[in-house]
């Protein structure tokens, strides 16, 4: 709780570069991204990686965006410094984002690039005869991506042996493939020798001895859940939440929890509620479509006061929408899903590190307050990869008020839903003698028996909402970024923070400072903090990934502030730093 000022970690004058690898789905674009990002990370650079792909297994356009710098990077850029085209579509789709100093890597046997295509930009065109190399040396076609990766590495001034070491490491268990790849690296370095180091990567300044990690938001959420002692995870596969299911499944034996892929999302959430009722820390993960199916049971968790964590990784809708793209259109849905009213918590991690942190915390909040906790992510956070380090902190698993079997034996009659000043009553779990109660989807009395009297109804509604004051104290800290004295402020939520921080760095170079409030929780709404933040600003800009400015609506309801300047994006693509910069320049 409260507003905390975060000091900027980066030197303001640094600019990041972006490399885009594009081709058809199935051409190894993802693995190219993996090897490139790994190589850059090994050299000590900061890296942020984002994939764009259609809902197809083969064909269609795939692209991986890798933004790197010697200083922390929080997002990917729209401007492309290096465009690697495994096909013509890549060039056609991304050429408008090329700039003065950009480099385009392609093979003239695939397609031809004309001056008109480049809008007379003095781009460097690097034509590598990839097809010819393959033909001449009798290489399989799947080696194409390695040839492109190697040529790119050479252009960046990365020594051949660095790449070779990396590939050897990755393919150590596949000797045949490794041999071919090493051969391809050599051939590509020779073929691209005249372009060696034309865009040399920055030399890492200083060395960080802090342990850092590079992972996706979903991996961070999963690790946070494991750290918090998850006992049960149930899900139906749905992009962009599926990789939580995959990751948790891969580790269930080692960490002794249960993962269940269910027949549908309704089963997933009901099973998780059952497991939680039986005493296991339980979580479900899905996207908007699956969450729509879970809505009724969200209310079931609430009325039975069964702790539950729900990961809602947003993608554009409605219905199937844009299955593999990003957006922030489910905010109000998460807040209002299920009939009638009950307290819930909606957390929205603003970066990867916080995703791990809040996933851990979500279970403690759920248990201590016996409420459903929603972790609102999106495709951009869930599937992008970022580098971060972890703060050292002593974390505790807090199960809240769970009554011991010994205490139950001393009681004459156990009242699971006894009224208490803070609305939280001790819970027993099945199997405990003397702890029998009904978890009832009907409104019920202190032991769970169905009870329809007006008095009981009022008491129970009040009991559930009585949790709010103490719950608010458990919410994460809100961070204010940038220059606290600035009169220009940006308010945003969730993963959009990354683009805003990148934009702040760029604007700082032009002498404009910003202060930023990126909300990492939305419900219960931090009215006081938001109000205080907005009151001290002359220019306010709201940024979020939806059409109707859902956070803006909430701010108006809770604080009375009607924010006029808005950057709203709902095209399925992440908000890019340059869009933020342009909007800021427009309003001041």
């Amino acid at each position: 709780m409260g507003l905390f000022v975060s000091k900027p970690k980066n030197k303001p004058n640094s600019l990041s570069k972006t490399l885009v690898f594009g081709g058809e789905a199935g051409e190894g674009i993802k693995s190219a991204g993996k090897i490139v990002s790994k190589t850059l990370l090994n050299l000590g650079l900061e890296v942020f990686l984002y994939d764009e792909y259609p809902s197809l297994i083969r064909g269609g356009h795939n692209a991986v965006f890798i933004t790197y710098s010697e200083y922390p990077v929080y997002s990917v850029n729209k401007e492309i410094d290096l465009l690697v085209c495994l096909d013509k579509t890549t060039f056609e789709l991304h050429k408008q984002n090329l700039g003065l100093e950009s480099v385009v890597i392609y093979d003239h046997e695939d397609f031809l690039i004309y001056d008109d295509d480049l809008r007379n930009l003095p781009c460097e065109i690097v034509d590598i005869p990839i097809k010819q190399i393959i033909k001449k040396n009798g290489l399989p076609n799947i080696i194409r991506n390695t040839l492109y990766v190697s040529s790119t590495m050479n252009i960046l001034g990365i020594e051949k042996k660095v790449l070779e070491a990396n590939v050897t490491n990755t393919l150590s268990k596949k000797p045949d493939l490794l041999e071919q790849n090493i051969k391809a690296i050599g051939l590509a370095y020779t073929a691209s020798s005249e372009y060696k180091s034309i865009r040399k990567i920055p030399q890492k300044i200083g060395s960080s001895d802090k342990k850092s990690y590079f992972m996706t938001g979903n991996q961070a959420i999963s690790i946070g859940a494991i750290q918090s002692g998850i006992g049960f995870y149930a899900a139906y596969p749905m992009t962009p939440a599926s990789t939580i299911l995959d990751f948790l499944t891969a580790n269930f034996r080692k960490y002794n929890y249960i993962v269940k892929q269910t027949e549908d999302e309704i089963a997933a959430i009901n099973m998780a509620i059952g497991a939680s009722y039986a005493g296991a820390r339980s979580m479900v993960g899905t996207s908007g479509g699956g969450f729509s199916l879970m809505v009724e049971a969200l209310g079931l968790a609430a009325i039975t006061e069964t702790p539950l964590v729900i990961v809602l990784a947003q993608r554009p809708g409605p219905a199937t929408g844009l299955p593999t793209w990003t957006g922030q259109g489910d905010l109000l849905f998460a807040l209002h899903a299920a009939q009638d009213e009950f307290p819930r918590v909606v957390l929205c991690p603003t970066d990867h590190e916080e995703a791990m942190e809040l996933a851990f915390k979500a279970f403690n909040i759920a248990d201590k307050f016996q409420v459903p906790v929603i972790i609102l992510s999106d495709k951009f956070l869930s599937e992008s990869q970022a580098k971060f380090s972890l703060k050292k902190s002593k974390k505790k698993i807090e199960r809240g008020l769970m009554i011991s079997s010994r205490a139950l034996m001393r009681l004459d009659k156990f009242e699971r839903y006894a009224s208490t000043p803070n609305g939280i009553s001790p819970r027993s779990i099945p199997g405990q003698e003397g702890g029998i109660f009904i978890a009832n989807s009907d409104e019920s009395d202190s032991r769970g028996f169905s009870e329809e009297s007006a008095e009981n109804r009022i008491a129970k509604v009040k009991k559930r909402f009585a949790k709010l004051p103490s719950l608010k104290k458990e919410l994460p800290d809100l961070n204010v970024y940038g220059d606290i004295r600035s009169k220009i402020c940006i308010i945003t939520w969730g993963s959009t923070k990354g683009a805003v921080l990148e934009a702040t760095r760029r604007l700082h170079n032009t002498g404009i400072s910003l202060k930023i409030l990126a909300l990492n929780y939305i419900e219960p709404f931090p009215s006081e903090e938001v109000s205080k933040f907005l009151s001290s600003s002359k220019h306010v800009l709201l940024i979020e990934g939806n059409y109707t400015s859902q956070l803006g609506q909430l701010i108006k309801i809770h604080t009375g502030h009607d924010i006029k300047n808005k950057l709203l994006k709902y095209d399925g693509r992440p908000i890019f730093p340059n869009e933020v910069v342009d909007k800021v320049l427009e309003i001041i």
Binding site: N42, S212, Y213, F214, I223, I226, Q227, S228, G229, G231, F232, N256, Y257, I258, K260, T262, E263, D264, I266, A267, N270, M271, A272, I273, G274, A275, S276, Y277, A278, G279, A280, S282, E296, A297, L300, L390, K394, K395, I397, E398, R399, G400, S404, M409, I429, P430, G431, Q432, E433, G434, G435, I436, F437, I438, A439, N440, S441, G448, F449, S450
Partner: protein, 291 residues
Amino acid sequence: MAQKKILKRDDYNTDHKCTWCPGCGNFAIWYMLKQALLELNYKPHEVVIVYGIGCSGNGTNFTEVYSFHGLHGRALPVAQGIKLANKKLKVIVMGGDGDGAGIGVGHFIHACRRNIDITYIMHDNQIYGLTTGQTSPRSDKGMVTKTTPEGNIEDPVNPIALALSSNSTFVARTFSGTPHHLKDTLKKALQHKGFSFVDILQPCITFNKHNTYAWYNSKIYYLENQSDYNPLDFNSALVKAFEWGEKIPIGVFYQTDLPTYEDKINIDLDLDTKDDNSAVNINELLKEFKV
């Protein structure tokens, strides 16, 4: 609390009075389930009953065991979650034919094929009673209800055949008008290790004027009395599953012994209720992502 108390049927009763219509088939099911639990010596706190929504679900208030009164059609997933989290519990699911053959039929199929050790009791009265008499997915063809004034034109769901084809390891039918058979069948189901399904034909005396006690009494016969019937034979079970009309078989259609889901995954969760445990060590997990 005395440690060696002798269990009585009353121990399964709460102080709440039954609200079912006098003559409802639910009484026999309720009574005989308690009797079966007593005879098998299950203590109330070791048992969890998960209920759906319907008249049967209102039994939550009368039965003194750990209970979960869930959503309409969703009792089975809740029960599976409970059993997976704590294998030591005796988990029973109660729901009507609307719950299990209608809105929750998908969960029914998947629960069968998983073979989690729970007992699913379908209160099969072939009508929507709690909502005062609409057609059910179990209503016989031609049956007149509020929503089928010209007679039901759909074929009913066949829960026995569905359970069999979904690989349920115990499939039985009994009748609330034959209480001893009802109790014996429930006992067999509760003793079966794996998923056990019991379809209980149960007249709704208020809203179903078609499937009455007399109607059933004139049609049912006991599989147990058929000397040539072998409940271990899947093919004969499948043939019997489609017998419905002049003759209606009750008894155990099929039973087989297969490892349960929970035996196969073999995970015992730590349901430690102590507060303030240290966080799980994730260093090993983080290694993979280290830069």
